[in-house]
């Protein structure tokens, strides 16, 4: 496989042709905020979270790193003001629709949202935006995990994994716009549909899907 050389934040980086800038950066220890990016579908990324913005020399606008193929001599900046503004704004929008109750959250301190907020230097509780949190019922029908749709950031990682695995997928997207959510066919309890492989739980970045072993509080509800 051919390799190309590009520079990310001034650092010289080698990458395989066809690879995307995001993975070239992450593989070389340069963090770019992201939620929906997965190695498994890096060929056709979901491009849903809109957080991995970078600036590239010669481009008029910031672009998403997950969609931008590496090229010889590409000069990428992850710290450009316009790219950071978009990433901050995107994360702030997600946080404004996410219940901020980290102290009681099973994934506290292992949460991708917290990590990105720290990286981008923004507060978890936004003052600029209005708070719009859904009040969907929490689904604890599975013996192994709990699904709290209100914490979901709709990155789609769980859906991708579930649909890729052999067998009938248990979850998918339903509804549109602000009401879009991850759910089962006919909104049935997830336990009725799921084979409990828990791959989705491992993929979840935001505490929407957590193991019951980590979440004693939600067990009884």
């Amino acid at each position: 496989m051919k390799t190309v050389t590009l520079s990310i934040d001034g650092k010289k980086v080698f990458a395989h042709t066809g690879e995307k800038v995001l993975w070239a950066a992450l593989d070389n220890g340069i963090y770019i905020p992201n939620l929906c990016a997965m190695r498994e579908n890096s060929e056709e990324p979901m491009t849903a979270c809109r957080l991995c913005f970078v600036e590239i020399e010669g481009y008029a606008q910031p672009v998403t790193a997950c969609t931008e193929p590496v090229r010889e001599g590409l000069e990428v900046s992850t710290r450009g003001e316009r790219a950071l503004r978009l990433a901050r704004s995107g994360l702030e929008l997600l946080l404004a629709s996410h219940p901020i109750e980290c102290a009681r959250c099973p994934v506290n301190r292992a949460c991708e949202l917290q990590r990105m907020a720290a990286h981008l230097g923004i507060k978890l509780k936004t003052r600029r935006l209005r708070k719009f949190v859904h009040e969907f019922p929490i689904d604890s029908s599975s013996p192994l995990f709990v699904y709290d749709p209100n914490k979901c950031v709709l990155c789609g990682r769980c859906v991708f994994i579930c649909q890729k695995l052999p067998g009938t997928p248990a979850i998918g997207f339903a509804h549109r716009g602000f009401d879009r959510r991850v759910t089962t066919c006919g909104d049935e309890p997830i336990g009725n549909r799921c084979g409990d492989c828990t791959e989705c739980v491992s993929a979840c970045p935001s505490g929407a899907l957590v193991f019951k072993s980590r979440s004693p509080a939600a067990d009884g509800s």
Binding site: E44, P45, T47, A48, C49, R50, L51, F53, Q61, P62, T64, T67, R82, R85, L86, S89, G90, L93, L94, A96, S97, R128, L129, R130, F132, V153, L154, F173, H175, R176, G177, F178, D179, R180
Partner: protein, 633 residues
Amino acid sequence: MKVLSPVSLSGIRAQAAQHWQATFGGWHSGRPVITVGMATCGRAAGAMDVLQALRDELARLELDCPVVEVGCTGHCYAEPLVTIYKPGYPAICYGYVNPVIARTLLREFLQGDNPCPEFVLGALETNDLVPSFADFPRAKYETRLLLKNCGQIDPEQIEHYIANGGYAALEKALQITPEEVITEIKEARLRGRGGAGFPTGEKWEMCRRAPGRPKYVICNADEGDPGAFMDRAVLESDPHSVLESLIIAGYAIGAGQGYIYVRAEYPLAVQRLRLALRQARQHNLLGRHILGNAFSFDVRLFLGSGAFICGEETALIASLEGEAGIPRHRPPYPAEHGLHGKPTLIDNVKTLGCVRHIIRDGAKAFAAIGTQKSTGTAVFALAGKVVNTGLVEVPMGTTLRQIIFDVGGGIPKGKRFKAVQIGGPSGACLPESALDLPVDFDSLTDAGAMMGSGGMVVLDEDDCMVEIARYFLQFTQRESCGKCTFCRLGTRQMLAILDDITKGKGKPEDIAVLAELAEDVKAGSLCGLGKTAPNPVLSTLRYFRDEYEAHVKEGRCPALMCQDLINYYIIPEKCERSCDACVGTCTVEAISPNSKRIKVIDQAKCVKCGLCLPACPIKYGAIIKQSPPQVQK
């Protein structure tokens, strides 16, 4: 291309000419013809009843006169429209016809010799008898290309289409190579009419060169902008023109299968397209070895299920594949990786509508219309506060002022023009200072607007620009698919701010946050819907910021439109004590006389329906609408 057996259109053409002659030929040799506009606009205005009345009355009077159902002429404001072709007279079009007028016309004009000038809208050609369409101010600007057949032929008769030069372009295209067809489109400098204005020829070439087979062509007829109905009119009034161009496109890129993705909400268009496909197959204009050439092509109709986002090409393809209509990242563009992963050409109805004219009359003739960079004509659906609502087709480069004031007849009721919303929910509101802007792709983009699909909503002094922005954003917010963060949550936040501002709950910092969010949603969204959704907000912030500030800082709606920021008030000095007109109109009994018999509105009871306002006799004019609300002592 190799000709298998020399079949040409000439056989069908002779038959079509005969058919056309049998219907309209009598006009010159003794038998009259009547046409009735039966597109959706006509039907909504009562054309069905008019048609029935005409048929009944003709039978009663025992007159030999065919009645032909035609499409929309563009004069939608004057529907139902009836045109009478009587021997010895010019063809005269009558507007605002009802069954009574229809019967009168038959008795007075067809049986008698009185052309009833009182009902005339215009004659189709200049004459000494009655005013003609050529005398209309709009005649100076209108150039009918796409709309040429609309309202002149029966859309359900392929013979009418062929007799008026139809399928000649296909015949011509099949005699040259696909590359030459593409060259012709490139030389015409045709640009996509769906909104962005991408050069059509380049897209065709990209698709032709893209590896992968089979290839597909798709006609995007998922017209969903509020206030836009150009595609509907073309599909209903001249379906074969779109079909012919689609076949040419299929030939040019080397596709074997075409699709027309049409809204299910356009039942008449669907019905007529279905019929057009059947007729085209009967005449070997579709199917195997079209007109005896080695080129085989068929078209399927696909009914969209009511999602605005499916007008976006990648979402449209997903929908066509049976998935939810959700867009994906571009590139790869559909021209290289489209339906079922194959090269796919997607063009808007109006883009395709231009194709047959380019092929038939040559690229030069097409490029001579319009401006250097935006060739051809622009079709607009004029709606809102304008006298002549309806369809207009003008050369690119015509100014907004000419379209609104000359073609559209200006603002009704002597009101003042305020803004024009162009391009639907992806478009922008342009103020009076932009009226002399030529309408072409680049000028509009420079002004912060875009051509969009062709909706043009005229706004007058009674329209609140904040409310207009809120209305359009509410539309896009509801139609967002929800996949990407900025569109799903950003438009939701923006809408909440606009809701607050129009309700008088806006905070001073809201305007700045709104502007920031608008820019971020525009730059950060995945697809065209999100990228353009903030345009109505950004443009109103740019041109009408004072209105936002009046709402936030003074709690005042300058246009007196936002219900929460106005109230009705009776000026005590002007109230005529002996008159009770307003009291009677109030549905909630909010108006009552005080001890001096001066009427007072109880603001707690008032629901702001506005019925009392016109009830107060003009000579008193005691009731006013005011903002910010003030209470009478």
